[in-house]
């Protein structure tokens, strides 16, 4: 039997209860469940399981995720359908993903086109409300999706609505989005550029999209650019000297 009062040693001291889990702690849980810890590490983790409900929950979540993957693999064989290190194994997956993406973009384009047409028709029926400089309560929303594949010549065009409208914009920064971005909405008037909105940091949502809501009162007719600049993580070693900013064009028509 263990000696009463044995401490958690230095490792245990880093596992202070009540503090959100760090990457180190998460990896400790991963290695605990994979039976890859030393005795003293096991002791520290199990002490934390006993004393810290949040840590315990993370262990259980991780165990459930591992178990779910194992069951999925034994049932459907995800090793066959999703994973493969050899290029030949990856190609069908990429091909399938590309097909799905192409179909998805097509459906999205049709949906967006129909929706804009419907909204344009609806706007003509609504009474005219003069725009003012202040933000009014939003009556309607317009969703606009920006894909990375859109070319410079393909600026999204929107009609300036007659009623206060919240433009819900979503931007697809690509398959490997940065953790956070600085987002700037810039109005272009010839050579002059005016920053209308500057937000930082903005994180991609669970679907990897950056979402920005802008009230129509702040967007008079004209040409705009939305610039997404990836922000380096705090403490991270900069891999490339200059993060590549993504630019999406938007035109608001009268």
């Amino acid at each position: 039997m263990t000696e009463y009062g044995r401490g958690e040693r230095d490792l245990g001291e880093t596992l202070a209860a009540g503090v959100p889990l760090s990457t180190h702690e998460r990896e400790l849980i991963d290695r605990y469940l994979a039976d890859r810890l030393r005795e003293d590490e096991i002791f520290a983790v199990e002490t934390r399981i006993v004393s810290d409900p949040e840590f315990r929950r993370e262990v259980e979540i991780t165990e459930a995720l591992r178990e779910g993957l194992r069951r999925l693999d034994s049932g459907d064989g995800i090793g066959q359908s999703h994973v493969g290190t050899a290029q030949s194994e990856l190609r069908p997956v990429y091909a399938l993903a590309a097909t799905i993406a192409a179909v998805g973009f097509g459906v999205l384009a049709m949906f967006t086109h129909d929706r804009l047409q419907q909204e344009r028709a609806a706007l003509q029926e609504l009474r005219r409300v003069p725009l003012s400089g202040r933000v009014l309560p939003t009556q309607r929303e317009t969703s606009v999706s920006f894909a990375l594949t859109r070319g410079e010549a393909d600026a999204v065009s929107l009609d300036l609505p007659d009623v206060p409208t919240l433009f819900e914009m979503s931007f697809d920064p690509g398959v490997e989005p940065a953790r956070t971005y600085a987002v700037q909405l810039v109005r272009r008037d010839g050579d002059a550029q005016t920053v209308v909105l500057s937000v930082s940091p903005v994180s991609p949502d669970a679907d990897g999209l950056l979402r920005l809501s802008v009230h129509s009162a702040t967007l008079p007719a004209g040409d705009y650019s939305v610039v997404l600049t990836p922000e380096p993580a705090i403490g991270a070693v900069q891999e490339s000297p200059q993060p590549v900013a993504l630019t999406f064009d938007l035109r608001i028509d009268e």
Partner: protein, 207 residues
């Protein structure tokens, strides 16, 4: 989800443990909370080593018997070390029990093989619960749009490959790897929903 009666029994046992130990330990020591922790630890050990999970309840009670007997003879001087003592005692009792289990010769070492030939008509409730978990994990994988991200997740959690090996193979930075894993875990947690508890999670998954 475990039967209501079972949960009520557990709560009652936790309350009994707390009341028995109340006279022996300082007021700041949450014996009921620690009991929940010890039980979770033991259940996890049993689950992962394919030993009957109901054994965890007995081992948990035994752990607290050892603890209370100990503090009866030797007053508690360092309350912050109680969790460490309980964890170590629980593990030692578990190891002793696992050895007995092994000596009984009831384990063939081919549990996976045996499980793969299970009669699908048996224990339909359990199969439904397992299918629920599989569906959640499948959703997580479907939402990972980059094939390489799925590869990272499965190599790390399914094949237990070392992080450094995966990063080297795929030319990834530590930061990128962590981002993929954290995002997958967040999605898994979100898909499970906010209302789950350890009780519901593991009744959902394993019981």
């Amino acid at each position: 989800m475990p039967p209501t009666g079972q949960m009520a029994d557990e709560e009652q046992r936790a309350a009994e443990t707390a009341s028995r130990g109340a006279a022996l330990v300082p007021a700041g020591v949450d014996l009921a909370g620690l009991r929940a922790g010890v039980l979770a630890l033991l259940r996890g050990l049993c689950r992962r080593n394919r030993i009957d999970v109901s054994l965890a309840d007995d081992l948990c009670n035994e752990t607290f018997c050892v603890f209370l007997e100990r503090v009866r003879h030797e007053p508690l001087r360092e309350p912050d070390k109680v969790a460490a003592f309980l964890a170590q005692t629980a593990r030692n009792l578990y190891i002793a029990e696992a050895r007995k289990f092994s000596r009984r010769g009831t384990s063939t070492g081919a549990d996976e093989l045996i499980a793969s030939h299970a009669d699908p008509s048996l224990d339909a409730v359990e199969r439904l619960r397992q299918m629920g978990l599989v569906a959640v994990v499948r959703r997580v994988l479907e939402q990972m749009r980059v094939p390489r991200d799925r590869e990272i997740l499965t190599r790390y959690y399914l094949k237990d490959e070392d992080k450094s090996v995966i990063c080297k193979d795929l030319g990834l930075s530590d930061e990128h790897f962590n981002r993929v894993i954290d995002r997958a875990r967040d999605r898994f947690r979100a898909l499970l929903g906010p209302g789950y508890t350890s009780q519901t999670l593991f009744s959902f998954v394993f019981l």
